[in-house]
Symmetry: C2
Subunit: 398 residues, 2 copies
């Protein structure tokens, strides 16, 4: 064991990743780590933000909604913390001087605060999907310019990052996928799958949207895109392997025939601790992996006929960043329609596919361009959502 | 791909590891690697030595037997190579100025040439078991003094070495073991096992002695000892896991819950290429790992009742280096007696156990000491062989 010294901020401290980050920081402090906290943010849960302030003693705390400013002030009074509210306060949280920033705000609200941290050259732990899916090239360019280090927290990307000892000698990457709740279902059964069946993820407990993405494998498709951006690896050199036990989190294949992998019990504190301590390591208490107890690990090729989302994601990656942002936006609308009971499970990928085709027709100029600002990303996002809503509406009416 | 520059020597060029090393060197040269060969050695196979000289163009070539000097001269005439024969010539091969030395001479004959390479601070790829089992502390001390780097070539140790990114943060190591041909046999069936059944290794083609060691799991016990020396890890922090597919070659468990492993198809060219290119990597043609094709990997705790050799090795490691050398020597005699049809399979471990007990009685002083020279190792070795022969004789007569 060795102690680390860090000044950290946590963007999104009250969600699942944020709470695990607080746990890891407290464990690091208990080992003698000198971790001071610059800023933390929350969405709407002011009670949880106040609790985090009591545990972490940050200098600055912010909530997303500007209208909550007085409520936050009241809840945090006596805690000796500066208080902010609204989009500019979230951005300030990212901009304030922390060496290490956890980017765990869910959704598009995470983009500006994360970019603020990246622009000043911090080590930024990326748990927010939108940062790479909607704005990957923007983030990477900003990181290259400022010298910021992007530390992936997703278990798959963190696994690759842990064993990427020789980036110049990689032959290919393999992302593992649990296969989701419909791994063994027939196409016919999947056609009739209900939302409650789709959100029952076998290995991880997650929100409804990401659970459905895991059921369609769109989640893995989006992770494939993130891996391509993060590790500068072309689409055709990233494979996906169905691995229902979720123990081998991903693999790096080297040109000498060696395949390096990271394994662990499913526990997000492991990748968070890895990102926090990087380039060192710290001890963190988790359920330790016991392969003899698990007994067997299995692997299979994904079935692209039953899980077309994976193919759609590969196409979007090949087509470019605007198409990727459009894919993600159309998928959000389709999943929402499925969770709302308006369309069937297999319609999700169908809507995404048709929305992409529609944009290629009506918005070809927009889709061909690499967005150079959040404004351009937002325009693509908007067009994709409209197309997806239109298609979902016609399917629901049919 | 990138090209490496090395001056190399190969101690034991005609055996399985030596031949694979030649193959890897030729592949590295084909990629533009500037690899010149200083010295190569052979046991008795002069034709194979001549063939290696034609392929590698070394400056010096030696055979083990001094009496073969004229024969070697004749075979290598016209190849523009200095020629030597006998123990001093082998040692000279290790002493000559190569940056990188493959130590692949089988048995005790490899000790002096390897030590010569270690003493002058070379990077030494260790494929010879005796270097660590009989003289581990000696080799490690010499390496520490000269700055030599020991590069493990055994697939298990090489796997650990590849993922030992944070040595100060390791919780424990796991060596994987195929379980050998008797993995699923009952104790009763093992009692009646014949030599031809013991040498039928499921995954690797190896010599008879090491195949029997794989059947008793003594091989894994010896590897556990080597791992303890090489990675400075106490016995109780090294586990053994039965993994019949021999795909995951070993694992390093970190204090953050991450377990890093190296996987590959069974092909010694991978660890040899890793050692040759270290700290870089080079491309080498092997059967690439396809986990979807393999389908499943299984893991189980070893059964110490059926495989007592593993416990004997742990005891020897705890007792110290002289006991380790004695264990290995007694095991050689016992395996020889089994292969000669004079004792039964389960007698192998029994002989080793009883030989250790006998030495604790009659040679307690010798066994308690850490050998500080090859002479002291040889005395322990001699005493252990005598004790084992005596016990094997009485079992054979019974």
């Amino acid at each position: 064991m060795s102690a680390i010294t860090r000044t950290v901020s946590i963007l999104g401290v009250t969600g699942s990743i944020g709470r695990s980050t607080v746990d890891v920081i407290e464990q690091a402090r208990a080992q003698g780590g000198a971790i001071s906290v610059e800023a933390i943010t929350a969405g709407q849960n002011i009670a949880a933000l106040a609790e985090a302030c009591r545990r972490l003693r940050p200098r600055f705390a912010a909530v997303a909604d500007a209208a909550q400013i007085n409520e936050v002030r009241a809840a945090l009074s006596g805690l000796d913390v500066e208080v902010g509210a609204g989009a500019s306060a979230l951005e300030e949280a990212g901009a304030r001087p922390a060496d290490w920033v956890m980017s765990a705000i869910v959704g598009a609200a995470g983009l500006a605060p994360t970019l603020a941290a990246v622009r000043r050259g911090a080590a930024v732990a990326i748990a927010n999907k939108e940062c790479l899916i909607c704005a990957g090239p923007l983030m990477l360019r900003a990181a290259a310019e400022s010298g910021a280090k992007l530390l992936p927290v997703d278990s798959e990307h963190n696994a690759i990052f842990q064993v990427l000892t020789h980036p110049a000698h990689v032959e290919r990457l393999t992302l593992t996928a649990s296969g989701g709740p419909f791994r063994t279902w027939t196409l016919e059964a999947m056609a009739a799958a209900r939302p409650d069946q789709a959100v029952a993820h076998p290995n991880w407990s997650m929100g409804a949207k990401i659970s459905v993405d895991s059921a369609t494998l769109m989640n893995k498709g989006l992770e494939l895109i993130e891996a391509s951006y993060l590790f500068e690896m072309p689409e055709e050199r990233i494979g996906v392997l169905i691995h229902p036990q979720s123990i081998v989190h991903s693999l790096v294949h080297y040109e000498d025939g060696s395949v390096l992998g990271q394994l662990s019990s499913p526990d997000m504190r492991t990748p968070i601790a890895h990102a926090l301590a990087w380039p060192e390591r710290i001890a963190v208490s988790t359920n330790r992996l016991d392969l003899a107890e698990i007994g067997g690990l299995t692997f299979a090729q994904p079935d692209l006929r039953r899980f077309p989302a994976l193919g759609l994601a590969r196409e979007a990656l090949r087509a470019g960043p605007a198409r990727v942002a459009a894919l993600s936006a159309a998928n959000e609308i389709a999943v929402e329609a499925f969770l709302g009971g308006r369309i069937r499970f297999l319609d999700i990928s169908r809507i995404v596919e048709e929305a992409m085709a529609a944009l290629e027709g009506t918005e070809a100029g927009l889709i061909a361009k690499t967005p150079s600002s959040f404004g351009e990303v937002a325009a693509v996002d908007q067009a994709a959502r409209e197309a997806a809503r239109r298609i979902a509406g016609s399917l629901a009416a049919a």
